[in-house]
Symmetry: none
Subunit: 243 residues, 2 copies
DNA sequence: GTTTTCTAGTTGTCTATACCAGTATGATAT
DNA sequence: ATATCATACTGGTATAGACAACTAGAAAAC
């Protein structure tokens, strides 16, 4: 029996071939732009039919790991550019990816009646309470952003300052079992007002990057509105687009 | 011969089956959440082998149109929510979506030796030529942004002012048959310099939104670098995130 | 009535084969 | 030297069948 594949294991052969190919690419035995063995070659080597090899290769082509050229061969694709901000990242994760340490100073943790714009953005009725959390976010010990977070009290009845000091997203996803599925961000340039300039330790009227993020749970339930003001001299927003 | 498929036409059978299924879904003969005929049923109806039907269905599953449940059947997926600004949009499309008319004033259309930063971003060797295109972008007849586009001459040897006045993306995709697959954008806030303020008709040192976009063709071939400067009082950047 | 077993139907995996359609290369004819 | 052709590769499409894994419901056993 061919020792390359385990035929007594419940893993499909095509899946094992996928793993084999991915590993060889990882080990750079098959390099980007180089051809991998042909389908017929692989089918002989693994002692499986060519259709089985094709299933493995097709999956990797769909995943963007390989690409085929008719009459020529199948090649290893260039790695996709790294997705720094794909998905939702917390400030902490974001700074970590940028190679900076992050810390934060809690300025306010209140339960307030939702102001009108927040109420509308969170689809709340008049009089409903929200958490209003204000923090200074620091990167490498220096101020990076002011962050104002609003979340409906009814969705998180037991939110505390301690939890806020840790990872709110972690708490929501793992403790409460709610998944944040989508978000929309609106990004604009502004001039810092006196208060912002003061907190961020920059001259008044300096340009700042203002980001408003609205996050949704499953079924498009609004979950939070975060208004952030970043120092423009320290922060650039990066976003990748796949078509 | 089975009249449902044209066997004397160069279109693959699996492709014709895909089209058939998509049409039935479009016509709501197969509704969301409802089961489509089984693979065996389809293979009999079309008088093709089941593997051919599977190829069609697999493609639609990968495209998110259908989903399979082992032992039960194959179902029509719910339509995805429309992504307003997902994907790469041209200035024209962007303004259209925002309900504004767009126009543009060409300030420069040059072929120049690539400056160092552009050369590095486009992976070009020293001395290679690039198009340098400068435009004022107007929305509702008023200045909205300054746009500086750089594209390698070798990728588009026959680019002309006329093409630039139209849709470059259209030209690239449909005339040249190259597909733009990915892009990265870096967004930051700045204070407008004298020249920018002048072109955009805003006070000097006003905040502006600076967006640098780098687009890629297939296989991560860099295709263009666009540096845009938007009036912050008129433009907000919106981005949606799916997890 | 409740539980278990059977059965028919579904998708999942896999084989062995065939022929088509592009590509590259070397032999051959000009 | 330069075309042209033959050939031997590559991936693309398609067949007919087999058995496995899973689901739902009907039939049988209790």
């Amino acid at each position: 029996m061919n020792p390359l594949l385990k035929k007594n294991v419940p893993l499909p052969l095509y899946y094992q071939i996928e793993e084999y190919l991915k590993q060889k690419i990882e080990e750079e035995e098959f390099e980007a732009g180089r051809m991998i063995p042909s389908e017929r070659e692989l089918s002989e080597r693994f002692e499986v039919s060519r259709m089985t090899v094709r299933q493995a290769v097709t999956n990797l082509v769909n995943a963007g790991v390989l690409y085929r050229e008719k009459g020529k061969g199948t090649y290893v694709a260039e790695k996709k550019i790294e997705q720094p901000l794909k998905g939702l990242t917390s400030f902490t994760e974001d700074m970590k990816k940028r190679g900076m340490t992050s810390s934060s100073r809690l300025l306010a943790f209140d339960v307030i009646e939702a102001p009108r714009d927040i109420r509308e953005k969170l689809n709340l009725e008049e009089g409903k309470k929200v958490y209003g959390i204000q923090r200074i976010r620091m990167a490498d010990e220096k101020p990076m952003a002011i962050e104002n977070t609003f979340m409906p009290k009814e969705l998180l009845p037991d939110l505390s300052e301690e939890i806020v000091q840790g990872s709110i997203y972690n708490y929501v996803e793992h403790e409460l079992g709610m998944a944040i599925s989508q978000a929309r961000q609106i990004i604009e340039a502004r001039a810092a007002d006196e208060e912002e300039a003061n907190y961020l330790n920059i001259p008044p009227h300096s340009p700042v990057l203002h980001i408003e993020r609205k996050s949704f749970l499953a079924h498009n339930v609004p979950f939070e509105v975060v208004k952030s003001t970043y120092r423009a001299d320290r922060y650039k927003f990066i976003t990748d687009i796949d078509r």
